[in-house]
Symmetry: C2
Subunit: 467 residues, 2 copies
């Protein structure tokens, strides 16, 4: 499909929509290079126009204009994505939603929070905790926007106990590709009123509509929380313990795994020391609840299972300070690993949680076989791994070949284990080929049909997901 | 769209697919009249062929034949629906899935249950409890199949704390309209791999595909549970208390409301006596958890709120027997009310939970204004009402006019309160017009586009939901 060449008059129209504010509408050479890529940076393309929208009405007017004039539009939050979903592959307009960052309402009778898409994840937690409330989804990247989290159905650490972003989105206000503003869902707890367009929008990576408002479900804040850091002599031993924990029915809030290398990298990155780094591998577990009795029973049970499975120790962190030092290290692994190499790319597969040990072992063997550094950490408790392949000193050609070889092997393995291509980072542009391999053609065709139903002119975030 | 006239040779082919078993394939006059309607019976049409399928392969072959020969197909479970979704409006083939009722696997490392769609809701709970596990969704109609629950995204009583069916479906095996068998999702906890076809399938009332297998998420069984029966002098007073309970952050598992009339009807229906019927209105609350400390704290707090809001008493049921007597009454309200009149129809609106008081008051006023008996009960804690309009002695014409007048008024009110047409019973055929009124045209168009992407020949359950 060919699009209209963007001209000065298009910029002038978009500028007029944005109150002629030149601080938030940019044209061609005025555009910051950051808008051409996301966090990993491997996929690049500059947009022709960037508009930092401040309201759904502005988004709607821009979208309507683009629709009528056949100009591609790519929505963008904080740009913390890893698969190129926010890269304007076909140029055109980028709508930056990061200025739409107001928390609009905390409704304590319905236990909902209504907010704009540009609110940062880190600000949601802080805000609702003041009211003794809790927004459970907890992806590692706290500077992501909630709009971005919704677009990828991000899961994070607490998915083991609390589920993923989808489970906490009650309603969305969305600008459709033709510029129309619609509400999907609302404050209601149940809904069986036609096909769930809200659930389709969640995880659609900005290809079906642009989220301009969200109504999130909140829970009462658990009164107590506690973390366990459990060293093991090898990652395999650590991960083998996970299905035993799940089987015990003492379900932690989070079960993460990490290795010494990632911890050392994080220490260097943060300039802060980690409570223990004498062992090769660790499980990091959290428990939360409202009574000490309940939490103690759960963690004592789990500690026992870990020790029986070969844990070298069980370190309890019940002070906020100590928990913070552990979790801040966990939170910066991606950036710490990034700092170790010249460039990297990632695999975000999810497998059934009793298969994660097999997948990690496989990855380790692959590292030596393929002769490339592969670092992984991730969500042991929900089967979602974040595996990073490091470029180091490879030249462009070698890197591309190595990456494609190693990735293919990993996605094949995930498929064999009945896993999925992405647990929470999405497909974007980078993983399209792997999605296509992983699903029956008919499912891809149906997805394309859905895209067509929302966006018959294919102007919203073209070239992504199933296209 | 016109369909092929069903002939004997079509029956013969379907019979051959079903191992020539005449005990489970029926043609024209051999077909039991029950297949022409669902639980409410207001919408009727006989199919030409009924096949009681026993495997996904059979469903696939039937569907493929129907697709190639342009014969409409309607899937059916227990037939406990209330909106005509399982009625074969255009005749053709009914695929009855109730014989596909095997529980296939309980996976205690992934905490999942894999089963066929014809398993009854009541059998799931019983089965998993033996393993100290818990399937939280708890719709009133326990003889519904899990396939039916998935098709309407049923919610039930425990949605207040645990969410709805959607939240517990990890994966589905589905036969598409062209006969292809696909898997959507799986045992994985997280998934961000393209548009969520699984979530689209949930709540699509058998119009996009036929569920032939489901992977459900289980939780550890809470160790303790307790119910409170709280009498109030009026329903308004009872319901006004609900937002105060939610606000207190002591979230019960369930908050139901009921009136004396429904209780008396249930007593008569069951032939069993209810612990208290001296008051006009009741809230029925359950609490569950793993420690007595935790539950006691919560219910004492809630009991206090109820008494401060004018409750006449707080009756605690901590024996299984007493809980059973209360909940079995609650479970039979629909049938008990049905026994009170000649015919009835229902409204299953959902409103934000702090608006349920206003809606109930409105319904009460409407009852006297419109001069028709209206009985309601339902899920006070999640804003989902089940309102029944009773025909009594009205003749056909009066009944139709009255029903349409009263329903329109109620749906208008629900819309005004930012509610939705259906909380959990779905749209089927009966509520199509109200769905259309409640959503922007563009959303209906998108739903039609989605239907087209799955079912370009419109042969699967035609005439339902958005068509």
């Amino acid at each position: 499909m060919s699009y209209k060449e963007v001209e000065l008059k298009d910029y002038e129209y978009i500028l007029s929509v944005a109150e002629n504010d030149k601080e938030r509408v940019f044209f061609k050479d005025q555009i910051n290079e950051d808008y051409s890529h996301d966090e990993l940076g491997g996929i690049k393309k500059m947009p022709d126009i960037v508009v930092q929208a401040t309201s759904a009405e502005e988004v709607s007017k821009v979208m309507k204009y683009a629709y009528e004039n056949n100009i591609p539009v790519t929505p963008r939050g904080s740009g913390t994505g890893l698969v190129g979903a926010a890269v304007p592959l076909k140029g055109g307009i980028v709508i930056d939603l990061s200025r739409m960052n107001r928390i609009l309402e905390l409704d304590d009778e319905n236990l909902t929070l209504t907010l704009e898409p540009g609110v940062l994840l880190m600000d949601i937690g802080k805000y609702v905790e003041e009211f003794d409330l809790f927004y459970p989804p907890d992806p590692g990247e706290k500077s992501a926007t909630i709009g971005g989290n919704i677009s990828t159905n991000a899961g994070g650490m607490r998915a083991v106990k609390y589920g993923v972003t989808r489970d906490y989105v009650r309603g969305l206000e969305v600008v459709l590709p033709n510029g129309e503003i619609v509400e999907l869902g609302g404050k209601v707890v149940k809904n069986s009123s036609g096909y769930s367009l809200k659930d389709l929008m969640i995880g659609s990576e900005g290809t079906l509509g642009i989220v301009t408002k969200a109504v999130l479900k909140l829970l009462p804040l658990p009164k107590k929380a506690l973390s366990l850091l459990v060293p093991f002599e090898s990652l395999e031993k650590a991960i083998e313990t996970v299905p035993k924990i799940i089987k015990s029915k003492s379900i932690p809030t989070a079960i993460e795994f990490m290795q010494r290398e990632a911890i050392l990298a994080a220490e260097e990155f943060l300039g802060k020391s980690f409570p223990d780094k004498s062992s090769d591998a660790y499980l990091l577990l959290t428990f939360d609840g409202n009574s000490t009795e309940e939490i103690e029973k759960a963690y004592e049970n789990v500690a026992k299972i870990c020790l029986e499975s070969g844990a070298l120790d069980v370190l309890i962190s019940d002070t906020e300070e100590r928990q913070e030092s552990i979790w801040s290290a966990r939170g910066c692994f991606l950036e710490a690993i990034k700092a170790l190499t010249t460039e990297m790319d990632e695999v975000d597969v999810v497998v059934p949680r009793n298969k994660i040990g097999e997948f990690v072992t496989f990855t380790h063997e692959l590292e030596s076989k393929a002769n490339v550094r592969i670092k992984s950490f991730g969500h042991a408790g929900d089967g979602n791994l974040h595996v990073y392949i490091l470029r180091d000193e490879l030249n462009e050609e070698e890197w591309k070949a190595k990456l494609s070889e190693v990735m293919q092997i990993m996605y094949d393995k995930a498929k064999e284990l009945r896993g999925q291509v992405s647990g929470e980072h999405g497909i974007g542009f980078a993983k399209k080929g792997y999605l296509k391999q992983s699903l029956p053609d008919k499912c891809i065709n149906i997805m394309q049909g859905i895209k067509l139903a929302f966006d018959p002119r294919n102007i919203l975030n073209p070239g992504k997901v199933c296209e």
